[in-house]
Amino acid sequence: MDFRQKLESKYREILTNYLADRSEQALYQGQKLSRNAIERNIPPEEIVSIHRNIMAEMFPEKFNDRMQESFDILLEVMVAYGFAYREHQNLKHIQQELRTEMEIAANVQKTLLGTEIPCKKDMDIGAISVPAKHMNGDYFNFVEDENNSVSIAIADVIGKGLPAALCMSMIKYAMDSLPENRKTPTLVLENLNRVVEQNVDLTMFITMFYGTYHIDHHIFSYASAGHEPGLFYHAETQTFSELPAKGLLLGIEKNTKYRKYEKEVMPGDMIILMSDGVTESRTKEGFIEREELLALIEKNIHLKAQNIVQNVYKELEKLQDFQLRDDFTLIILRRNV
């Protein structure tokens, strides 16, 4: 017996039972039957048709031609429901496919954009980057140079999700393909600006901060393309100040020039870099204030850089009820005492 025949005999049984005693039990079996039929992709009009045939068989006299014909209308009406239902099934299927693809893409992105936090004996470095959705629109990358320096790039693609992630991969490869002697902060930004300007959508742009820490002289030189300003912690006075940096976003004007800034780093000093997901953290009471962020860092300042960034993230995540609105990236570079 194929499923349709089984369905028909089961339906007949339920209908007969119900007409005999109008029991709840029969109604419940009807519900169960409909779930089975849905799983087997039986359209609703087919059930109506089964109902009509059985009724005609069971009550040849009472269920007359007029009554039978009335079911034609019901059948016709149910056809549309059947279509809608099949479409819904299709979409569910497509959605599942997309979700799987998205997960694969997120993994590919992780591999493509992966970077290792350098281990230098004079420095303590910590970094955390957490996407608000599947794909991270924030990006950071460490590069160690032969002349004992560590470079850090931190970028945020405006726009979120998949388009932002694709754009990020482009940036990463443009940056990797720059020759060694063109990797000063200003030249990196000027080169990337041209790449972005030519290649992205009108409303898409990128903020980026690029800095190089020269370990031999303890000088941090950097430039910014519209990126969220970094912070500097002076160990001696135990105070924070903003890392001044001005520069236009990447991808707006073709020939933008970027200014180079330099900062001398004393033992215990910290350079704190972030994406706007940190400063745009929103709680029920409003945005978190800069002071709150500084207080969080200060509270953890005795810890290793990696533990500081992790603890600050955890606390801000908690303040936002564990719902990130934006990708979150926080990086700390500290000169060891």
Binding site: T203, G226, L248, L249
Partner: protein, 110 residues
Amino acid sequence: MNINIDVNHNQNITEVTVGGEIDVYTAPELKKELIPLSEKDNVEMIVDLSGVSYMDSTGLGVFVGLFKNVRAHDGQFKIIGLSSRLKRLFEITGLADIIDISTKMEGEKK
């Protein structure tokens, strides 16, 4: 999360008033309404954001797009009514140097 967009054509000037929140959910609507307006030659557009309570970088993206479009069509683009928080966003991103974000209304100037 809501956004109100009001467009007024006053002689040659396109006046846009935006209120509410501009974020990843509302930005597409803003983009759909405003981008076509920015694609006319010599368009003069003034956008009033004094009613905006929140804007994230997606919103900023829409204004960058508008600005680029208007400039490509030899027009003029201006944003007014920025709160201090929004003003900071334009300053950090360097956009304050290329987009006119004077806080005064047209006519008060000079």
